[in-house]
């Protein structure tokens, strides 16, 4: 289990580097596959509560290192209105919330049904982007929404979940190599008629 969890941590950190190689798609409102959140969610699904929280911290921290904007350094007499950005570290909380939702579907994944958790991951990414968008609107004021926003969020979530089956497959292979069980053998554990 320790070996498997260590690999999960390395995998999330390594994904941050892979994310640098993923270009945005100009034709689809500059959307890109959000590989770090997806790998984090897949890892959370197979790792347990403590691992989910640890990876939420690592993933969210690295994500914010990449995406937090610098503070403004302007002459306040001319630029009277400062435009706020999201605070460094907010992604850790959002990652943890996504992880909690995904973790709820672990029993389904353990019983071999990966399709529903995959769908839930897509919904989580979709909700995560909407929350980010709403937070920007809250801190900056003047709620502005365009159809492009909706399409950008939708396409990002759709593109991101397209890689989930591959990541889950890879994780199951890693688990086998580490002698770690992430799936049940489809037998009921709490009621075994053979024991009666």
């Amino acid at each position: 289990m320790i070996r498997y969890n260590s690999i999960l941590t390395i995998l999330v950190i390594f994904t941050c580097l892979i994310q640098q190689f993923i270009p945005s798609i100009d034709l689809l409102f500059n959307v890109r596959i959000l590989l770090v959140p997806i790998v984090y969610l897949c890892a959370s699904l197979t790792g347990g509560v403590a691992m989910m929280l640890f990876l939420a911290f690592i993933g969210g921290f690295l994500w914010d290192c990449q995406h937090t904007l610098n503070t403004q350094a302007f002459n306040q007499t001319i630029y009277t209105e400062s435009v706020e950005s999201l605070h460094f570290g907010y992604s850790i909380i959002l990652y943890a919330l996504m992880g909690v939702v995904t973790l709820g579907f672990t029993p389904l994944f353990r019983s071999g049904k990966w399709q529903i958790p995959t769908l839930i991951m897509g919904i989580s990414i979709y909700a995560y982007l909407w929350v980010e968008f709403l937070l920007i609107n809250i801190v900056r004021g003047n709620f502005s929404y365009t159809p492009e926003t909706f399409l950008k969020i939708s396409f990002t979530a759709l593109l991101s979940i397209s890689v989930v089956p591959f990541i889950l497959f890879m994780l199951s292979k890693i688990a086998t190599l580490c002698n770690h069980t992430i799936k049940n053998d489809n037998r009921r554990r709490f009621f075994n008629p053979d024991r009666i």
């Binding site: 190689f21 500059n30 630029y79 605070h87 502005s144 929404y145 365009t146 492009e148």
Partner: protein, 266 residues
């Protein structure tokens, strides 16, 4: 709840609280360390992306590209001749200034940079360039292109920097409309695409005589952007009861821009 999970939850909350209470300077230090580790991968990723694009371009437009190369070489030859001529004029102007003891303008010092990555984040209008503090590039320096103002340096790291484009809501510029006395604050808009970006010039006089097609330039106020840099052209002017607002089309094509200049002595 299992004891391990409880300990993990407490540790998570403490660590998150620590991160959320970091000062901007501390965050800047953390980000600098992160970018130092990640920068080789950003360059490699960009090289790979460009190789793929160039490969496709070569297959589709090889004839067109050779024609463009020929035209570019001709243009380069003409421009080189013009530069030589201008250098001679500059020397003459300098000697005349010396003779008249006229106060000399500060020398224009710029660093050329290539855009490595576009839109690395979901919401901000940013790009990563291949120049950093190693090349005298620092935070908040103005970024230009041949067409006009591009934005400013958001975060400068050792060998790479992030540009905040003019089209982002956070990039504010003190701007004036040529042919009038109107001065306002110009900034981008939230969640707009790069193909047809629109800028907002706010805090104008409600009775100003502003017409579509008028040019917008920087004022130089605020100590960030130098004066008289072209920003764009007025598209619409809307007057309110207390102030007015103009929509401006930027002079720079943000979708096609590949090379930028950073003013290091602005």
């Amino acid at each position: 709840m299992k004891p391990l999970n409880l300990i993990a939850l407490i540790a998570f909350l403490v660590a998150t609280a620590w991160v959320l209470t970091r000062s901007p300077e501390s965050v800047r230090g953390i980000q600098s360390t992160y970018y130092t580790c990640v920068s080789p991968f950003v360059s490699q990723g960009s090289t790979l992306e460009q190789k793929i694009k160039h490969f496709n371009d070569e297959i589709v437009h090889s004839e067109e590209l050779s024609l463009r190369l020929q035209r570019s070489e001709e243009e380069l030859h003409i421009l080189r001749t013009k530069v030589k001529h201008l250098e001679k004029i500059a020397e003459e102007v300098d000697s005349l200034r010396d003779a008249l003891k006229f106060p000399q303008r500060e020398k224009f010092s710029a660093v050329t940079a290539n855009i490595l990555r576009r839109n690395p984040s979901t919401w901000w209008q940013t790009a990563v360039i291949d120049r950093g503090t190693d090349h005298e590039v620092n935070d908040f320096q103005p970024v230009l292109s041949a067409e006009g103002l591009v934005g400013k340096i958001d975060i400068a790291n050792d060998s790479e920097s992030t540009i905040l484009f003019l089209t982002d809501e956070k990039c504010q510029v003190s701007a004036k409309i040529s042919g009038t006395h109107e001065v306002g604050i110009l900034n981008g808009q939230r969640t707009q695409s790069e193909d047809k970006p629109i800028l907002r010039l706010r805090f104008l006089s409600p009775n100003a005589k502003i017409k579509p097609g008028m040019k917008v330039f920087t004022t130089g106020r605020g100590g960030l952007f130098p004066p008289d840099i072209l920003i764009g052209t007025v598209m619409k002017y809307r007057s309110g009861s207390f102030d007015a607002e103009a929509t401006v089309r930027p002079s720079v094509d943000f979708e096609k821009i590949r090379t930028v200049f950073i003013l290091t002595n602005a």
